[in-house]
Symmetry: C2
Subunit: 154 residues, 2 copies
C-alpha cells in the first residue's frame, strides 16, 4: 500500500494498461498535474513496475512501458472495474467493456480459488499467520510497528 | 478511485475484513491518526460500504461493520495480496495466509473470465466503449473532462 501511494498510482497504471506510452497522453487522459504524474512515474520506475525507453534524443523524449511486474497488477484494476460496475454505475451501465478475445463476450473478472477453482468470498477464507495460526489484532499491531521501525531506519 | 481517496481507505477496509469493529482497534492496527481514520470511516459510511452501530450509550460507542457493498470489495484486496505476495515478498514469504475453508489449502485469488471461466491477462482483453468500439485516448480525455465538470457543479 505504501508503494502505491495515493490513487493516482493505479490510475497511472490503468492508463499504461490501456496503452498510453507518452507522458503528455497520460497527463491528458488523467487531468493530473505534471509534477504529480512525474513523481508517480518515477516511483513506479524505481519499484520496477514501469520501464522508461528513450525514443528521441533532441529534445529527449521517453516512452513509458509496463514491466512484467506492472502488467501483473492488471487483476487488481480489473477487480476495481468489476466492483465499480456493480456498485457505482447509477443505472447508466459500465463506462467501459472488457471483451474477452478468446470467448468473444463482454465479461468481468471473477475471483476463484487457485487450488480448487471455486468462487469464494471473505466468509470462505480463514486469515492465518504463516505458521497457520489465526491472525489476531496484536499480530497486525506489531506488524505495523515493525514496518514503521524499518521505515524510520531508512 | 475518487471514492477510495488515498490508500488509507483500502487499509481501513482490510481491517474491517479482518474483523476489527472498534475504532480503537482499527486505529491501533493501522497506526493511523484519529482524524484521518474518522474521516475515512465517515466517507465509507456515506458511500454505503460501512454501517455504524451503537453498542453503548454512556459514553456513546459504535461498532463499524461492512455492508454487502463493503464486503464485495474483498476481491480487490485479495488481488492486492496476491500481487504483493508475488512481487514484494523479498524472499520472506507471505505475511498472511488465506486458507480456503472448503478445500483446506492456503490459496490465493485467481482471476478468471465470468463467462468462460478461463484465466486471462490484459493481453486477452479488448477494452471497448459501451457501444463496442475500441476505446481511444480521446474517449478517456473527454470522460475525465465530464467528471471534473460534474464535480465542479456540486
Amino acid at each position: 500500500m505504501d508503494l502505491l501511494g495515493d490513487w493516482w498510482t493505479p490510475l497511472v497504471l490503468r492508463e499504461l494498461v490501456y496503452g498510453s506510452e507518452r507522458f503528455d497522453d497520460i497527463q491528458a487522459a488523467l487531468g493530473v498535474g505534471r509534477n504529480v504524474l512525474s513523481q508517480r512515474l518515477q516511483r513506479l520506475e524505481k519499484e520496477g513496475l514501469v520501464a522508461r525507453r528513450k525514443y528521441q534524443d533532441h529534445p529527449p523524449r521517453h516512452h513509458y512501458l509496463l514491466t512484467e511486474k506492472g502488467r501483473d497488477f492488471f487483476p487488481v484494476l480489473a477487480m476495481i472495474v468489476r466492483w465499480g460496475d456493480r456498485w457505482l454505475d447509477g443505472g447508466k451501465g459500465p463506462p467501459v467493456l472488457l471483451r474477452h478475445k478468446s470467448c468473444g463476450r463482454a465479461i468481468h473478472g471473477e475471483m476463484v480459488c487457485s487450488h480448487c477453482g471455486k468462487k469464494f468470498t471473505r466468509d470462505d477464507i480463514a486469515v492465518e499467520t504463516p505458521a497457520g495460526e489465526p491472525i489476531t489484532l496484536e499480530d497486525r499491531v506489531s506488524a505495523i510497528a515493525r514496518l514503521n521501525a524499518s521505515k524510520s531506519r531508512k
